[in-house]
Symmetry: C2
Subunit: 177 residues, 2 copies
Amino acid sequence: MICPNENRTDMTSHSYFYKTMPSPVGLLTLVANDHGLAAVLWENDDPKRVRLSPLQEDTKHPVLMEAERQLKDYFAGKREKFEMKLNFNGTEFQQKVWAALLTIPFGETRSYAQIAEQIGNPNAVRAVGAANGKNPISIIAPCHRVIGSNGKLTGFAGGMESKAFLLKLESKDFVLQ
Amino acid sequence: MICPNENRTDMTSHSYFYKTMPSPVGLLTLVANDHGLAAVLWENDDPKRVRLSPLQEDTKHPVLMEAERQLKDYFAGKREKFEMKLNFNGTEFQQKVWAALLTIPFGETRSYAQIAEQIGNPNAVRAVGAANGKNPISIIAPCHRVIGSNGKLTGFAGGMESKAFLLKLESKDFVLQ
DNA sequence: ATCTTCATGTCCTAAAATGGCCAGCGGCCG
DNA sequence: CGGCCGCTGGCCATTTTAGGACATGAAGAT
């Protein structure tokens, strides 16, 4: 259903289910529907960064429970790769960027320029930054692995500390304390 | 799901089903999903007047078959009232206007000003005109029964001939030829 | 070193334009 | 008079348009 304007009310709109979980980078909100995981939101996430509505709590949803399990393993240092159905929602360009994120291996990083090149649009560097900032499925679609060409972290929806934390967690010399 | 922009692709969006039927006012396209009838479109309808997508043909959909049956009866002069679930999709204002349409009895007319007053917004006369023009469920939501205060027909998405035809069909002195 | 410029897609906002109107006037004509 | 144009100005929701801001980076000038 195409919605020409934002105020349109759709009598038949989908519901999404959510569940929260604690993590080293703050309370995470997992969102899904039957098609897969749709979002992992930060504690103080800008509501207009990702829009999913209406939302409905469901702590038992199988997709959400599986996502929580894998995230727990990840934070415990026992998992490097996520395996679950993802349900991205965005423009064609954004989908391309987000798909590119999924190809960055655990522990590696890419620059915004590299991502732009990878999706065949080498000049759309800032656009990649913007799309990255709109990545709904944080952590699992590893937008934290994209940094400036000069090595600076430059920005992160979940806060720079979180970006740094995640990169440190993925670095080889990370030690569980 | 709120769609801030039109280009957004929603992997989980609803499908609508459609079916066409001949009628005295040209080929009609009926559109529905499981929540009810969503549209009755004219043969050369402006595609941006009503937007429903993705569309998928299904000539056997129960809602569509029932709608076709009732429309056939209507054109045959054997039905004055439609009875089916409708699935309007629009802004709050538009919904109010369209709901008001449904209160106009067979064979009667209202002016745009009367509709505006009825929805509690007596000055929103032109806005009523615009909303009327966006009525997705033609004929069944009888936008053809709304005419100018001076009695002129003033406009119709399906063409003025169709508006005249429908009003004639509903007039008491109409005779089946 | 530091600064400017430019390239790109998306979204936000504000401002302008657009209509299936209509009441109020002034003209015009019988 | 009295009816019938036709113009004008105001009304309102929605759509369209335009400008700016961004999770950047390479190149060229100062």
